[in-house]
């Protein structure tokens, strides 16, 4: 397998964690989102992923896109340890947590949106930061409320699931914007501390990647 990845991409970070949890290795092919006007827009990458977003996982003849679709694929092909344990209701709860980050926080704050705010709408840097923090806080505040009742060491129970794969990269982003999770979201911060103690999460972190600046 080959993983087209960028060290700081939250979406690629999710897939790196999933691969590690499953004990799988993939050759990492870096796609630098800022160099050369964004390597994700280059012709060769676009032929693999018409959306021009990372990550892409190539497995034999299949070029798989969208991080959550890739994680579900890995979970179906390599069921242990399960990323979606439990009955249908618990699986729905895990997916809802993952999607609340992957749909309603991350895409609203990703690079191309911030570039559009600056380059096309000409908003100031301060307004851009306010935008980022607004959606991040709104999403994580709701998540703190939603997660608390069923959380264990991880978002749902004591083993990492698809929910944790999304949460940890999002909290990494919060730290980049000087938000200390422990000050705002005690349950999320506790889960982060636990997950980062696990090699699968630690080794997937941006600063551990060969393409980190």
């Amino acid at each position: 397998m080959q993983l087209y990845t960028y060290f700081r991409s939250s979406a690629a970070y999710r897939v790196r964690i999933a691969l590690n949890l499953k004990g799988l290795t993939a050759e990492h092919i870096p796609v630098h989102l800022l160099k050369d006007g964004g390597q994700q827009h280059g012709e060769s990458y676009r032929s693999l992923n018409p959306q021009e977003l990372v990550p892409t996982l190539v497995d034999g003849p299949h070029a798989l896109t969208q991080s959550l679709a890739i994680c579900e694929y890995l979970d179906e092909c390599h069921p242990q340890p399960p990323l979606l344990p439990g009955d249908a209701a618990q699986r729905a709860h895990i997916r809802a947590i993952a999607l609340s980050i992957a749909c309603d926080i991350h895409p609203v704050n990703n690079l191309r949106i911030l570039q559009y705010l600056s380059n096309t709408l000409k908003v100031s840097d301060a307004q851009k930061t306010d935008w980022y923090l607004h959606w991040l806080r709104l999403g994580l505040d709701a998540l703190e409320t939603q997660i608390a009742p069923q959380a264990g060491c991880c978002c749902v129970g004591d083993q990492p699931t698809l929910a944790d794969l999304c949460l940890i990269p999002q909290l990494y982003n919060a730290r980049r914007y000087q938000l200390d999770p422990a000050q705002h979201w005690p349950t999320l911060a506790r889960i982060e501390q636990h997950c980062l103690s696990l090699p699968a999460f630690h080794d997937a972190a941006p600063e551990q990647q060969a393409d980190a600046a």
Copy 2:
């Protein structure tokens, strides 16, 4: 089951299609996104869905959030007809299509974002329309490329899947902004025409809902 829905919400529209395809009925409880400052922000709805977004599906003791998590739940509890047919690679392809809409088009253009652009960033109506059309076109252009090789009557094969549940509501939004799918995305337009001929899709459309204006 009770479905908290708003007639024009794309996310609620997806779940309405899924329920119809499965032959299930749910009591519809309207949540008006514009009246009363947005009924989704009211205390009673927030206690059900801390994210203050529609839809929510209540099934016995479970309040399920996030449209794609709800659709996967319905598919696990009621497997026929399958929303995710085929092997792991095909299921990944179906999920990738669904997520490319649910993550990378819809949340960037939803009501709260447009409200923030107007109310906080004070962008003009023309700039707001440009924003909407920019992300819509970017996403659907990529999707046309990505879908074409494996499309049948539907996005993947000849039976509706999770991908079509996301595509049809998104094309409804495109039409609201005066974009004719046939002029821009021939494959998507052909799939739309087929799906809208099916009662499950027709009956889920915004204009068929009791809460339509």
